[in-house]
Symmetry: C2
Subunit: 341 residues, 2 copies
């Protein structure tokens, strides 16, 4: 493989605040051959995910901080070029932790088979991939939704949020979204089928929250944290469940909470007897063996829509990531960097 | 009964900050006869509890605010004077919601039998009463303690805290307390058998927390909220459980949290994947039918100690309550206002 060149995107410097393109650098190397048990894959679709922003801080988080100079990680859909693992042969389509690069060498056991008969390639990064499992397992394992309950979802136009809401609807719940513009709110209702969606930039946000469900909310699927979540918490019903999936409001470090907020936050936990759970998707691995079957069924019957913001070309990986952090995506952000052979 | 005079303590005005005696007023009435299904009881022991302070605010809480002029509620141990309920006869000893007064007329079905063969009278307001059930059911239902885990308890010298810690020890856990002075910390370790106790007034509080359990804490039984709880939260282990039982630090409205605290608090929920649950004891009614049996056994074999701060006389009810709010009690605060006939 010494004649195949691999471009890879590396971490050049820690951002302060909202990242820009100079956080990254592009390196080039020759593609290595797989060792025993490994597979060499060509990345076709690259995923960019909000949790990466968290890894850019040099402080304790749920994954180790990114080291300067290191390859940026990320889920990919790829095609096997050369295999030294019994389960795989050249040409197979796989979901792997392939990273932001053209070619990846990974352990064969880290790969999951992609079945395009069942759902299009993109779906295996979205509803049937880590994104889908985050929404599905998070909502079910921590939220315990019952038909007729009301769920509120922040970052409702985003990859995980739009799925969490659609899954809630498929389970017979009433679902309200929170998003960052009128246009997004329209998409959340019209495309993703939420019952209502509220613009958190509105000056009447707290009133709108109340109006959308005057009796309050049973479940809050939280992707943002900060002031938005503080406002939602006060609208939770007795014995409400808050699922802390992401905190994108604070990933870049800006916020403007009132000093009394934490006291108030603790107070509502007790007054409303809330259950608040933080989780990351890997905590819930294998909790829901029915996941692929169930969500593939919903995709087929239209209860869950495959909605992506698609970019084309390796050069679009960084812009796609930056756009997602600024909330300029709808559904899952995916970059197609090659076609299957 | 027209010749028996009942003194009762009423709510005279809402306090701002730490309450003083003029929050209360004493009223006198003639004792009423019980109607059908009711019992007339003479209060022997009166309980004063921190949750009362919460009821003095005129705002939504987990119980309705106290109304000005109304009788102060509270658990009591009493003796039946006259019964119009089939389960009870004159002379029976009962635990009832008798309030801060000499005599109470209550529904017979609200009374619980007190068995002095099994444990002394005081125990039925403490370990075998609402206080004990709060500690027991809260720790078991929300904390799911496993032998070998480390539990940290705030207000560890208080009624609920001291029991939560002793129950943790009885279940094979390592238990660390938090209390408000050296003397209290000594009591928590020497009397209640905690493995360690930390003074939250110390300037090295956060370091002391870390030193007492360098690997962190599995369970936090929280009675105080505020800055103390914020410090503890950062020391929780992955998948730690926080049981929010009380928030005495904010009952009187003073606090001094940093504006960034809520963001940080939300961050640690996600990073450490914490489960935080607010509860009040009535949520857990009948969850643990084995409660009396189990705790009476621990009282008998000394694994749980009956430790009270006892006051004598009706006039001591208000001072006992104020002393408890200032943390000047150890274990359960009880006022003996009469002897059994």
């Amino acid at each position: 493989m010494n004649d195949i060149v691999n471009r890879r995107i590396c971490f050049a410097q820690r951002p302060s605040g909202q990242p820009t393109a100079d956080v990254f650098a592009i390196a080039v190397n020759e593609v290595a051959l797989p060792s025993d048990g490994q597979i060499l894959c060509r990345n076709l679709l690259v995923s960019v995910d909000p949790y990466l922003r968290l890894k850019m801080h040099d402080r304790e988080s749920y994954t180790p901080p990114l080291e300067i100079g290191k390859q940026i990680p990320g889920g990919t859909i790829a095609q096997v070029v050369s295999s030294r693992h019994d389960d795989w042969k050249a040409g197979d389509l796989v979901a792997i932790p392939g990273g932001w690069q053209n070619y990846a060498v990974v352990p064969g056991k880290s790969a999951t088979r992609v079945d395009t008969e069942r759902a299009p390639l993109e779906a295996w990064l979205g509803p049937l991939g880590m994104t889908g499992y985050t929404a599905y397992a998070g909502l079910l394992s921590m939220g315990h939704p019952k038909a007729g309950e009301t769920i509120i979802v922040s970052a409702a136009a985003g990859a995980v949020g739009s799925l969490a809401g659609q899954i809630g609807k498929a389970l017979g719940c009433r679902v309200v979204g929170i998003a960052g513009s009128d246009t997004k709110c329209k998409t959340v209702v019209e495309t993703f089928g939420f019952d209502a969606c509220i613009d958190y930039r509105s000056s009447t946000f707290e009133d709108d929250l109340r109006a959308a469900s005057p009796d309050g909310y049973d479940i809050y699927f939280d992707n943002v944290g900060g002031q938005i979540s503080f406002s939602v918490q006060k609208q939770m019903k007795l014995f409400g469940r808050i699922i802390v999936c992401g905190l994108i409001s604070q990933y870049s470090g800006q916020n403007d909470l009132d000093p009394k907020s934490l006291d108030e936050y603790m107070r509502w936990i007790l007054v409303r007897r809330l259950a608040i759970r933080g989780f990351i998707v890997s905590d819930l691995a294998r909790n829901h063996p029915e996941f692929h079957e169930t969500v593939a069924g919903w995709l087929k019957n239209g209860q869950v829509r495959l909605e992506t913001t698609l970019y084309y070309g390796f050069d679009q990986i960084i812009p796609a990531f930056l756009a997602m952090l600024e909330g300029r995506n709808t559904g899952k952000s995916i970059i197609r960097i090659a076609e299957a052979a």
